[in-house]
């Protein structure tokens, strides 16, 4: 098995291979040589420079490596080549197995307006919207017809990249230009379409699995409403606003769409649910998703292992009614972003890491002390997943886990996540997709006198330690050089 990805998801797929006793082959760009996925794999091949197009998006090179290393199959992870139908086809043409939906399914569902038509065809409600738009003038006219606010979305791909909410007519042209640029960069296709923006909506998605024999099952939903710029920050399952009835409806709708599309392997059908529980189909993600562990810990199923079995031609080993969901799970995506400075991405050396552990905690992470976080890729560093027998227990454990976690050297999203888990909207489960936008960046920590004294003392010691080491680093022997590197982390 060749794993055509990096970071935590590459490690996740390698672990699935090793859990099944399979060999796992990693690929890496020049800046990822020391990464955990390279060290965890049985074999590892360099595939080019740091820029994604030179390495992790270099389909030809990756297929060449797979053949050289005598792999049978390629798992694309998420992002990069995972929703690239041409890549899926090229893998098959090279005589290898592609772990994911076949190119035909990816083409059909990857064109977002075609997917909307398909959903409508099987009686799944779809948000009011347009076909791909010819030009900015046609788009503006459509926007005025639908009524502001509207959502500009790339027709060529999903996942939130290149999306823009437009609130009023005079902002439309700038948004169009920005979205066109990002859509081209992300999917190589500038085409955009419009959807009506639904206020205070929740982003609910349904995990599905389909085998090559035409059997499709749904595993349960995830509420992914806590997003910033359509990038998810917290996901949970079950959705706190989702009734048993709505869950069954979303599951059935997802299965209808998948069956109609001739879906094979794992996928996610995304919906927007409004305050009244009315739902609209958004899109299908034809790949493994970042947040799949939330479903795994609730169902006890290993989605990646099942992907491998399905890709190997095995039928699904269980029926819909055998899937049992238990308890509640929450995932926090710890990213190299500074929530106290508008979520600006950070890169640099990770000087220290301590990941939480203990009851109910799962960690999917690529972090290690001494790791250099490159600036070329997605900012996801680690996922903390907390399970509890109910949502309250899961929240308690997640709070504790976030409090235990330490990452030093670069800023991370931890301050956001720590605050979010104590946010009244989150606690009551009554949040929506505007949660992060409403989140007031900076709350002052309310420190007791003793805590403040200890913190002040440590601040002074840190300052002194740094000054001393800088002075020492002027002497130029190997030790002081090593010391300097430590100090400057």
């Amino acid at each position: 098995m060749l794993v055509a990805n990096r970071g935590e998801i590459a490690l996740r797929v390698i672990r699935a291979c090793h859990d099944l006793g399979l060999r796992a082959i990693a690929v890496y760009s020049d800046v990822d040589r020391d990464a955990l996925h390279v060290r965890a794999a049985d074999a590892a091949y360099p595939i080019g420079a740091a820029a994604p197009r030179d390495s992790y998006l270099n389909a030809a090179r990756i297929i060449e490596v797979a053949k050289r290393a005598r792999c049978d199959a390629i798992h694309p992870g998420y992002g990069f080549l995972s929703e690239n139908a041409d890549f899926a086809q090229a893998v098959v043409d090279a005589g290898l197995v592609f772990v994911g939906p076949p190119a035909r399914v990816q083409r059909l569902l990857g064109e977002k307006t075609a997917a909307r038509r398909l959903a409508r065809h099987v009686d799944v409600p779809v948000a009011e919207g347009t076909e791909p738009l010819r030009d900015v003038a046609a788009a503006r006219a459509a926007a005025n017809e639908i009524g502001y606010p509207v959502l500009l979305k790339p027709a060529g791909g999903g996942g939130g990249k290149g999306m823009r909410v437009v609130g009023r007519d005079q902002d439309f042209d700038a948004a169009w230009r920005g979205a066109t640029g990002e859509a081209t960069a992300a999917f190589g296709a500038p085409a955009l379409y419009l959807e009506r923006q639904i206020a205070r909506a929740r982003h609910i998605e349904m995990q599905i699995l389909a085998d090559g024999q035409g059997k499709v099952v749904w595993l349960g939903e995830r509420d992914c409403s806590i997003q910033r710029r359509h990038q998810k920050l917290i996901e949970e399952s079950p959705g706190p606003s989702v009734s048993e009835n709505l869950r069954a409806k979303l599951g059935a709708a997802a299965v209808r769409i998948a069956e109609r599309a001739g879906y094979v392997n794992a996928g996610t059908v995304e919906f927007l649910v409004d305050a009244n529980g009315e739902f609209n189909f958004l899109e299908v993600n034809t790949r493994l998703q970042v947040e799949h562990p939330v479903t795994e810990v609730v169902t006890g199923l290993d989605v990646v292992a099942l992907q491998l079995r399905i890709a190997g031609g095995e039928p699904l080993p269980f029926a819909q009614e055998e899937i049992v969901r238990r308890g509640a799970a929450i995932e926090c995506r710890i990213t190299a972003e500074d929530p106290l400075a508008g979520f600006t991405p950070a890169s640099g050396l990770v000087a220290l890491v301590r990941e939480p552990a203990g009851p109910g905690i799962r960690i999917d992470s690529a972090l290690f002390s001494g790791m250099a976080v490159p600036s070329e890729y997605d900012s996801l560093l680690a996922k903390v997943i907390a399970w509890g027998s109910d949502r309250e227990e899961a929240i308690g454990r997640m709070r504790r886990a976030l409090e235990e976690m330490r990452v030093a050297g670069i800023p991370t999203s931890l301050p956001f996540h720590r605050a979010a888990l104590f946010d009244q909207e989150f606690i009551t489960g009554r949040y929506d997709t505007e949660f992060v936008a409403r989140w007031a960046a900076r709350k002052t920590a309310d420190l007791s006198d003793g805590t403040a004294a200890a913190a002040a003392l440590a601040a002074v010691l840190a300052q002194r330690s740094r000054t001393e080491r800088r002075a020492l680093a002027r002497a130029d022997d190997p030790w002081s050089r090593a010391g300097r590197e430590d100090a400057l982390r």
């Binding site: 920005g178 106290l340 991405p345 920590a445 002040a456 840190a462």
Partner: protein, 164 residues
Amino acid sequence: MRYEVTLDDRRLRVDLAGDGRFTIDDRVVAADVREIVRGRQWSIVLEGESHEITVVTHDPLRLDVDGRDVHATVSDERTLRAGRGAVGTRTGRVELRAPMPGLLKTVHVNEGDTVERDAPIVTLEAMKMENELVAPIRGRVTKLNHRSGTKVEGGAVLAILVAE
């Protein structure tokens, strides 16, 4: 040695005596201090309470205090005597730096503009995302070092603001 420390909006005076004892706001404090990771992490038991403090970043100084996030500055008596504290907090002069290498997509202000706190100053494209860098204080933009469309290094000073 005497230091002035700020923790978010709180100010404390720390005196380190030569004999290893110290006082905080002129009160002698009984603390058991252990450096767990050199220059990075300390365990401090202070009047029974157990604290773990980790330096998240040095510049600006951000601390993880028992799993809570605190902004800090430290000024020693020499810099205090010289009339200036940590960068930005006393002089009122703040540098806006690129947090990482990237492409300066847009500069939203002109030199001489007065901007509100959190007003967008520049848009930096990095990690496949556009990132708005905002004004950390209310103030006047006294310097803009780069034009739109230029590539900038991580840490590059993009703008200088002076508090108003």
